[in-house]
């Protein structure tokens, strides 16, 4: 197997090499932009299973648990190591989190809120993204004290292309062999807090290990999963224990960020390439205007997976995901596919009720 560094190790390592640390909040942001300034973007979801002793004084019980998790983590000193923050304008909750941090919770480190356009007009979207990326560059120049270099961005974009290529190889390998474990998901999620080159080395080493050791096909059946963030990770353990595996996924934190349709174009500038990449983001309820685009995309992933069932796993109170749930259920049920919906609270372990429902669903599939 490969040794996966912890968040703390990765941060410490980056700091020792002179890098700065950026807290990157969920969910869609081109990490290459931050990394090309030798700043390590570390995604902040807050560790699962926290008690909200501090956050409950600032955030109502009915607000998305990611917000409570992040506030608790910050107020307990978990973000002291950070030099700056980027909040992608993902939803009402992250929007509120950004103003809560800066206006009420004494967050005084340099902060940027990144808007991903929701308009359906592609020219407007493109222009807006180019302008917005220009602003992010100005911000990161100030934070890093370094001027922006086109070459540095180009090599980062290419390193992320390699990252996608390696992840696709891993998916293909999973599909061919049925091999999958919780380790696999931890490895993918390590990309949330590692420089892409380091993460690529890990992925390549893991792929190498799999090719050498997992040549026999496991007798597993595939399920397809969509949702926001895979917490608690126990979901994967149960799926594995019950003789199932996941080929493709559509977690916003995982597979949804795998931008497959993008190819670097040497004829245009790295910034234009980055804009094109952002325009190629997969359908996501945070910004999509059309439910059918998402259903089409999910069906493609489902069919490639040769899956026997669909699990929708959202975070409680997550409006963008929750609005789409009935359409996804209806769509797959009409195809004769069993569907399970669970919403969780970022607990460390699944609640008994959710565990039983997941196990019963897998048995029925």
């Amino acid at each position: 197997m490969v040794a996966i560094p912890s968040r703390a190790q990765s941060i410490q390592d980056a700091k020792s090499k002179g890098a700065k640390i950026c807290a990157l909040f969920p969910v869609h942001f081109p990490r290459e932009l931050i990394e090309c300034f030798n700043i390590l973007p570390v995604e902040v979801w807050g560790p699962p299973g926290q008690e909200y002793n501090l956050a409950s004084k600032h955030v109502q019980p009915y607000i998305c648990p990611i917000i409570k998790n992040v506030v608790e983590f910050y107020l307990s000193g978990g973000m002291d190591v950070v030099d700056c923050a980027v909040f992608p304008h993902t939803c009402d909750s992250i929007q509120g989190l950004a103003t809560l941090f800066t206006d009420m919770l004494h967050w005084d480190k340099p902060t940027f809120v990144f808007f991903y356009p929701r308009t359906s007009t592609s020219e407007l979207k493109q222009q807006f993204l180019a302008d917005e990326i220009g602003k992010v560059i100005n911000f990161l120049e100030r934070v890093s004290g370094q001027p922006f270099e086109q070459g540095a961005l180009e090599s980062k974009i290419k390193a992320f292309e390699e990252n996608i290529h390696l992840r696709k190889q891993l998916i293909d390998h999973k599909k061919a062999t049925g091999f999958e474990s919780v380790e696999y998901w931890k490895l993918i999620r390590a990309g949330e807090y590692m420089f892409v080159e380091e993460h690529n080395k890990l992925l390549a080493a893991y792929l190498d290990y799999l090719k050498k050791n997992a040549d026999k096909r496991d007798q597993k059946r595939a399920v397809f999963i969509t949702g926001y963030v895979p917490e608690p990770m126990e979901v994967f353990e149960i799926i594995e224990k019950r003789g199932f595996y996941i080929v493709e996924d559509d977690y916003a934190a995982l597979g949804r960020r795998l931008v497959r349709s993008f190819k670097y174009n040497a004829d245009i500038s790295p910034i234009e390439n980055l804009v094109r990449k952002c325009l190629s983001f997969n359908p996501c309820p945070m910004f999509s205007q059309n439910v059918n685009d998402r259903l089409k995309y999910l069906t493609e992933l489902f069919q490639y997976s040769d899956a026997k069932g669909v699990i929708i796993h959202t975070v409680k109170f997550c409006e963008p995901e929750l609005f789409d749930v009935p359409f996804i259920e209806k769509h797959f049920k009409a195809m004769g596919v069993p569907v399970l919906f669970i919403d969780t609270n970022l607990e460390k372990k699944l609640l008994p009720r959710d565990r039983n429902r997941l196990e019963a669903f897998l048995e029925s599939v």
């Binding site: 009915y62 308009t119 407007l124 309820p285 109170f317």
Partner: protein, 438 residues
């Protein structure tokens, strides 16, 4: 042939039937605020409110096939549509009526059965329930030709209208207004303005008309003037005792939400301002014994308007202003039709909406309102259904307490009585009242 029949029905209904039915109702009984203790005499204009809002929904019943119909969010720049003679339907205003009539559990059940979560906004649930079931307190809701969602009030409208678009098979146009943290970057303004121009192009195509600058500017002026009058009406509550309450304002805000940009809306508020001035002149107090004055933050609890106003009035409290009713006055200054480019004015007005601005802005606004309206305290309605309006309220409360105001967070929901406990609210309100006895 159908088109001619639809037109005949429309004109027959709106020009003949409606005036006759109004005549009949004028002689009927009234059921507006009682005028009995603890309240002062009711507002006379409430009857007119019923008439103009009643006509609005009545007209809607016959608009299909006669006028282009748009369903829009409450923060949508409808002046463009108004100038192109659209019939404009506001699902939020309709949902508020459903909330007042306690229809949310019934309508929400329709969508909950289809898999929509109870945790979603109750406006969205009840409105989608109404769209699916056809149940509505207004007789009939016209089918839209277009849905327009402006994200300046929340991102929820994007998901809600996306769902409606799928259910009804109607195209959706999203006006994306980036949230304002501090100053608005130029490229954000440019982006919003370009989207408004695109909406105008789409609306022209649907209506088969051209957006004429004179007409557009005229509508913009009517909209701005009505907002100014609304602001004057609200400001009447600066007088002590206040001639009306925020509960009256919640009811009388319907035209500024739904009929902005029409002469009827402007004329209505001109009359309202006159009546409020007259009440001040006559020394009429909305709450007979106004001892304390409060600010309300967030949407009202629509299904408890009467209960709340009574509980508060009995203790000598009057909620004289709210951040919610003030929102329809707040960005009026930007709606200046003398600007060379009306789209620029619209951009500025619709991006600077309280719900699209940061907590520092909200805190400053609340402090100013409390000072201007001589408020002793504030009730912050922590509204389960409106998360963007509610996030940050715990800290706002602390900041306001530090500044010497009395503050109280009320946990409830603007539309769904299943998230409301009478006893709990009464007990907590009682504790809040006690803060004033020290």
């Amino acid at each position: 042939m159908n088109k001619i029949l639809n037109r005949l029905k429309y004109y027959g209904a709106t020009r003949i039937l409606w005036p006759l039915s109004v005549k009949k109702r004028v002689s009927g009984k009234r059921s507006s605020p009682s005028g009995k203790p603890p309240f002062g005499p009711p507002l006379q204009i409430t009857r007119k409110l019923r008439e103009i809002m009643g006509f609005h929904y009545f007209e809607g019943r016959f608009s299909e096939g006669v006028k282009p119909v748009a369903w829009v969010t409450s923060g949508a720049p409808i002046e463009i549509l108004r100038a192109l003679d659209f019939f404009i339907f506001y699902p939020e205003n309709h949902a508020a009526m459903c909330c007042v009539q306690r229809l949310v559990p019934e309508l929400s059940a329709v969508v909950e059965e289809k898999g929509f979560s109870m945790d979603l906004c109750s406006y969205a649930r009840c409105d989608m329930g109404s769209a699916i079931s056809g149940k509505t307190p207004v007789g009939k809701v016209p089918k839209p030709d277009i849905l327009i969602a402006c994200t300046n009030i929340c991102q929820t409208v994007l998901y809600w209208y996306r769902s409606l678009s799928e259910m009804l098979g109607v195209p959706l146009v999203v006006i994306d207004t980036p949230f304002v943290y501090g100053d608005v970057p130029q490229h954000h303004l440019k982006y919003v303005k370009a989207q408004l121009e695109r909406v105008a192009d789409i609306a022209e195509d649907i209506s088969g008309r051209t957006l004429e600058l004179d007409r557009f500017s005229h509508v913009l002026r009517l909209s701005a003037d009505a907002s100014l009058l609304w602001g004057e009406a609200l400001a009447a509550s600066k007088h002590r005792p206040a001639p009306w309450t925020a509960f009256d304002q919640f009811v009388h805000m319907a035209p500024i939400v739904s009929l902005r940009g029409t002469y009827e809306c402007y004329a209505y508020y001109a009359e309202l301002v006159d009546e409020l001035r007259d009440r001040i002149y006559q020394g009429i107090s909305a709450v007979q014994t106004e001892k304390y004055r409060l600010l309300w933050d967030n949407l009202p609890v629509w299904f408890k308007l009467r209960d709340f106003s009574t509980i508060l009035a009995e203790e000598g409290f009057n909620i004289v202003i709210s951040t919610y009713t003030n929102a329809w006055y707040q960005s009026t200054a930007y709606l200046n039709s003398d600007e060379a480019d009306p789209f620029e004015a619209l951009t500025e007005a619709y991006i600077h909406i309280i719900l699209n601005m940061d907590l520092n802005h909200k805190l400053e606004l609340m402090e100013n309102l409390m000072k201007d309206y001589s408020c002793d305290g504030v009730i912050l309605h922590s509204d389960k259904s409106c998360k963007p309006y509610s996030i940050g309220q715990y800290d706002l409360k602390e900041k306001l307490l530090e500044k010497g105001f009395k503050a109280f967070v009320l946990e409830a929901d603007h539309g769904d009585p299943r998230f409301y406990t009478d006893e709990q609210v009464k007990n907590r309100l009682q504790a809040f009242f006690e803060m004033f006895s020290y």
